[in-house]
Amino acid sequence: MARHLLRVVALVYLAFLLVLPVGIVAWRTLENGVVPLWSALAQPNAVHAILLTVEVATGAVVANTIFGVGMALLLVRHQFAGKRVLDALLDLPIAVSPVVVGLALILVYGRTTGAGAWLGEHGLDVIFAPPGMILATIFVSLPLVVRAVAPVLEEIGTEQEQAAWTLGASPLQTFRRITVPAIRWALVFGVVLTLARGLGEYGAVAVVSGRLVGQTQTATLFVEERFQNFDQPAAYAMAFLLAAMAIAVLLATNLLRPREGV
């Protein structure tokens, strides 16, 4: 009885929190068929926003995959002074508000600062441009890959790698043929979370991008801007697309993943 009650409570909770809002977005988007959806997304500004979002999210995924695996190896396999501090710092991006992250980036890389001015002179504008948006997205999704990969690295231990060394495999061969396959599902999980976070990031990107329509406007910024301008169909269509992409990515991971962890 208690267990049934718990189930009902959980389902109702999820229904009001998750299923209902997402469902309404889908319903609103599709109530007049797919033609308005298509025409809303085919506008040049919408297309640009989608492409920019993919670019920013991809940039963050690539950077955080490399950084995340490296950092996980460092934390799990090495002992050094300051390890605990580093470990704690990694979670900071989760705790700090994305708006603060954006503001901090402007303070460092804005055109009026030393670093920003120097980069600008060398042809690299960071703030109000894609590099800053990628940087902000990297920051907010920083720990996702590390936190997915580190426990698996801990669990597999070092014996397989040592066995590979004695069989003549170089450190690089060992990493590619032994370590990566052993952590691959954790890595996929971390990458998916990073991708989802990257596609959906709003606050930090809003601050550093300057929200220039057709230039630095990502999909989430597009939703907000269209909604404020009473262009509900476009806002719903993009929101629907973002939700659909997130669900597709999560489904793909679940389908690709073997039933039992190998």
Partner: protein, 321 residues
């Protein structure tokens, strides 16, 4: 000599694993590093393999100074207690690994893998994953994998330690036969003296980071260098202030010169062996008899007997400290 270890020391924090160890491992033989847990034997094996760096001392493998060579370039095969199977690869792929990283031709790899799987009787498991194998099968696979690259030296770290008693005994006998077929210089670590006695040509007894004795199984058993070796390698008891092997003692029913009078405390039958606990005026002694001997003597708890060391020579015995 195939492996020469000179003055090797290794500490982990404050724990001294090896102190100034020097030992020679003969070519082509099966050598056991025997000692209690935490005695340094696994560390010595890992130093030889290059998986640990010694704080001091040198390692030579077939005449070449290998002290600073990485494990990849030492030509050693290593087998781990917990198999270290590559879980995402089939048995055949595991065995092929060393050959693949050496970029040998495919046909050669396939043929070599077949030979090795036949050698360890695993042909029918080529396509399985390690998770589908028993512990004994995984260890045989690990052995084939290590042998695939034709190492100069095969190092086994407690290879049967994670297996149950029955499989362990089978694999022991099998390792001995395999070595007689393959003849690669082999060093294996064990804390089980019976395993070392049964399998090894030569035993290196290691305790608390130092080599206590090196010798054939008979030498370490019959001529132990010190009390530690004597009591670690086989059963011991104490008679008139001397350490002796219980099966070297005799019981007689009539007083004799040199025989100590004693009372039988307990008689325990362990299959063919009979363990007799007796008490002399000075101490408790235990004597191991065969069933036939015990029956002939007709001993029972509470009976009066005399204990003596038989006049035969060559018995392991030493003053007890």
């Amino acid at each position: 000599m195939s492996i020469t270890v000179r003055n090797v020391s290794k500490t982990f924090g404050t724990f001294v694993a090896l102190r100034d160890v020097s030992v020679d491992i003969p070519s082509g033989a099966l050598t056991a590093l025997l000692g209690p847990s935490g005695g340094g034997k696994s560390t010595l094996l890992r130093v030889i393999a290059g998986l640990e760096t010694p704080d001091a001392g040198t390692i030579e493998i077939f005449g070449a100074d290998s002290t600073h060579l990485p494990p990849q370039r030492r030509d050693v095969g290593f087998v781990f207690q917990h198999y270290a199977a590559f879980k995402h690869m089939t048995v055949a792929k595991n065995v092929a690994f060393g050959l693949e990283v050496r970029r040998r031709p495919r046909a050669e790899i396939r043929q070599r893998v077949e030979e090795l799987l036949a050698l360890v009787h695993m042909e029918q498991f080529a396509g399985r994953y390690p998770s589908e194998l028993s512990g004994g099968q995984r260890q045989r696979m690990a052995l084939a994998r290590a042998l695939a690259v034709e190492p100069k030296v095969l190092l086994l770290d407690e290879p049967f330690g994670a297996l149950d008693a029955q499989v362990r005994k089978e694999l022991r006998a099998w390792l001995r036969r395999l070595h007689d077929e393959v003849h690669v210089t082999t060093v294996f670590v064990t804390h089980d003296q019976e395993e070392a006695m049964e399998v090894a040509d030569e035993i290196v007894v290691i305790n608390r980071g130092v080599v206590e004795q090196v010798g054939t199984p008979d030498q370490v058993y019959d001529e132990p260098a010190n009390q530690f070796v004597m009591s670690f390698i086989g059963p011991v008891t104490r008679l008139s202030g001397r350490l002796v092997r219980p099966h070297d003692l005799e019981l007689v029913t009539h007083p004799e010169a040199g025989a100590a009078p004693a009372t039988v405390v307990r008689v325990v039958r362990l299959g063919f062996d009979v363990r007799v606990d007796v008490r002399t005026a000075e101490e408790d002694v235990w004597v191991q008899l065969t069933r036939t001997e015990a029956e002939k003597l007709g001993i029972e708890a509470g009976g009066r007997v005399f204990v003596r060391t038989p006049p035969g020579a060559g018995l392991a015995a030493m003053a007890a400290g």
